[in-house]
């Protein structure tokens, strides 16, 4: 090793920890800002936008004609809605930082407790869906680049634009119709046991798989044209070996980037999928809370979905330099 190269390696080794620390710090800071943004947006949209949140909440529970002004005034005092906006925001943010998201208007239970009950179901669904989506998307992409049959390749390349055109709730309904009512293999609804997880996870997985299939298929195609692939072919390596052993490794990088980008979509898809399958979870909780105009629960679910979103993006961001050594840590 020449002197200059040794010096460069030593310099890189010495600088890397500081660069890495700065990178991790920035990513954590970004995650915190996302959660704060979601909280602030929820305050603006849920407490400032309606002319009177208390009346809105009371209306959804009765016929709305005989709301006692006395009760409205008392509830407004209780929620601090008679104070200035900045005071309300500061007080609510401080309470939320301490884990107090208030109580449900509907059943009076602690919002945090209701979220704690629902959260594991959504995480389970999102993870299972992500696993299925990654497997399915990768399989479609690999097969599309591997097959020599023209019609099969065209069908596989049409997979992504087709699935992207099917709304999440329809994917769920079609799966229920086919596998639960038609074939009778799996339960159509509920949240108990692994059998009830299969169809919802498949629904979320299908929604994730289209983008992964599209991006990976394109990356594989480009990698197979790259000079290194031509060199491997000249060496006598078969197309399948080049694809599976060499091109696939490079094509995983855009797929991982995409997972980070599509986490919001996965959570959104989980919200709709849970409703379609009548499964417990954050989505069901949110849907019920919106129907009942239960504002504290809506806010709590939104903030916790944002936390999930920011946390999983953080994980992807931190994994990224491990997968792609070429990435510059900024």
């Amino acid at each position: 090793m020449s002197g200059a190269a040794a010096e460069a390696v030593a310099r890189a080794a010495g600088r890397a920890p500081a660069g890495l620390a700065r990178y991790v710090g920035r990513r954590i800071g970004h995650a915190v800002i996302v959660v704060w943004a979601a909280y602030t947006l929820s305050f603006v949209l849920l407490y400032l936008l309606p002319s009177d949140p208390v009346t809105l909440m009371l209306q959804s529970r009765g016929d709305g004609s005989d709301i006692d002004p006395e009760v409205v005034a008392r509830l407004q005092r209780q929620y601090g809605l008679d104070r200035p906006v900045a005071w309300q925001y500061a007080a609510m943010l401080r309470a939320a930082l301490g884990g107090d998201f208030g109580r449900s208007i509907n059943d009076g239970r602690d919002v945090l407790q209701r979220i704690a009950e629902a959260l594991p179901h959504t995480v389970e669904l999102a993870l299972a869906g992500l696993a299925i989506g990654l497997t399915l998307g990768m399989a479609v992409a690999v097969l599309a680049n591997l097959t020599r049959r023209r019609w099969l390749r065209q069908v596989l390349f049409a997979y992504a634009p087709f699935v992207a055109s099917v709304p999440a709730f329809l994917i769920g309904l079609f799966l229920i119709q086919l596998f639960a009512h038609g074939l009778g293999w799996l339960p159509a609804a509920g949240s108990s046991g692994p059998a009830a997880l299969v169809l919802p996870a498949l629904a979320v997985g299908l929604q994730v798989s289209d983008a992964i299939a599209q991006v990976t298929a394109r990356a594989l195609h480009e990698n197979l044209q790259a000079p290194y692939a031509q060199y491997l072919r000249a060496k006598g390596l078969g197309r399948r070996a080049i694809l599976l052993r060499h091109a696939l490794r490079n094509a995983i990088i855009p797929a991982v980037t995409l997972v980070g980008l599509s986490i919001g979509g996965i959570l959104g898809g989980a919200i709709i999928t849970e409703t379609v399958f009548s499964r417990q979870g954050l989505g069901r909780l949110l849907e019920e809370a919106i129907t009942l105009q239960d504002i504290p629960v809506v806010q709590g679910v939104v903030v916790f979905t944002a936390i999930l979103f920011a946390a999983s993006n953080l994980v992807v961001d931190l994994l990224y330099p491990l997968i792609n050594p070429k990435v510059t840590l900024r």
Partner: protein
């Protein structure tokens, strides 16, 4: 770009194939790509006609209840079958088209209008205005779109117009970013500087000189979002936040079939299939627009 002008020295053979003369030209028009594009345009035209004049296409009254026609499977008289109250589903679907498509278009129009104003101000005025607007857009971009829509629906209440606003606001940020970038590109063009030197008011410069030149890519983006807007509107309406029963809307028609899916599959599946076809057609056309742009 440089090779297009008078300095183009590329030999003719390298510039691409010469135009195909005679009958072969016809054959090249009949490729699967063109056929699917034509089918997509025809389908969207048909759906637009449903929205414009449902009474000409719907064979029955969408609200007419008939106890003897409950849950009939599809037949020539009732192409989509009937629902639990004996209403003709095809008629209800055709009547629901207007509500759904108007909501999707209103959402895009709102997003386009708000994004234009925000993008123009941020890009042209710059400084503190740009900082404030850009941070606001960052916040909107950081939170998943569906959550923004659902919060707006909670704050505004239910209804077809409110879900249109909810979907519109959740896509403002993406459009405004593009608008701002375009304005930044045009702001220092010679004709803008010339107008400013002539003493034209800045509002007039924005309206007459900057806006018309910045609008192209944003309009293309709007067209690209049409399929997505239809999906978003149908999803919110499916969850029950759009038009309230008995008014028909694509999403709530499908939701109405959920409870009887086991023995009346057609209520959800047939309208759902048409929605998928409409979104596929919209996406096919946007892909073509993208290729042209």
């Amino acid at each position: 770009m440089a090779s297009d002008g008078i300095l183009d020295l590329t030999p003719g053979l390298l510039r691409g194939a010469p135009p195909v003369p005679g009958p072969a030209r016809w054959r090249s028009w009949l490729t699967p790509g063109h056929a699917s594009l034509a089918a997509a345009i025809l389908l969207l035209l048909l759906v637009a006609l449903w929205a414009a004049a449902p009474q000409l296409f719907a064979p029955f009254d969408p609200y007419a209840v008939n106890g003897r026609l409950k849950l009939l499977p599809p037949s020539p008289a009732h192409p989509f079958g009937t629902d639990g109250l004996g209403r003709d589903l095809f008629s209800r679907f055709v009547w629901g088209t207007r509500t759904t498509l108007v909501a999707a278009s209103a959402a895009l129009l709102l997003a386009f209008a708000a994004a234009s104003v925000l993008g123009l101000l941020a890009g042209y005025v710059g400084g503190l205005v740009d900082d404030v607007i850009s941070r606001l857009l960052d916040i909107l971009l950081a939170v998943p779109g569906l959550l923004i829509s659902l919060m707006l629906v909670t704050g505004l209440g239910f209804g077809s117009l409110n879900i249109a606003i909810a979907v519109g606001v959740s896509s403002v940020a993406a459009f405004a970013r593009v608008m701002r970038a375009e304005v930044l590109r045009i702001r220092h063009a010679d004709f803008v500087t010339a107008a400013r030197l002539c003493g034209v008011a800045w509002t007039v410069i924005l309206r007459r000189h900057v806006f018309p030149h910045a609008i192209g890519p944003v309009l293309a983006l709007t067209a690209l979002h049409f399929g997505g807007a239809v999906i978003a509107i149908c999803s919110l309406s499916f969850l029950g936040f759009g038009a309230q029963a008995p008014a028909p809307e694509w999403g709530n028609l499908i939701a109405g079939g959920r409870s009887v899916l086991a023995h009346a599959w057609w209520i959800s599946v047939l309208p759902g299939g048409v929605i998928v076809l409409v979104v596929l057609a919209a996406n096919r056309i946007s892909r073509q627009l993208e290729r042209i742009a």
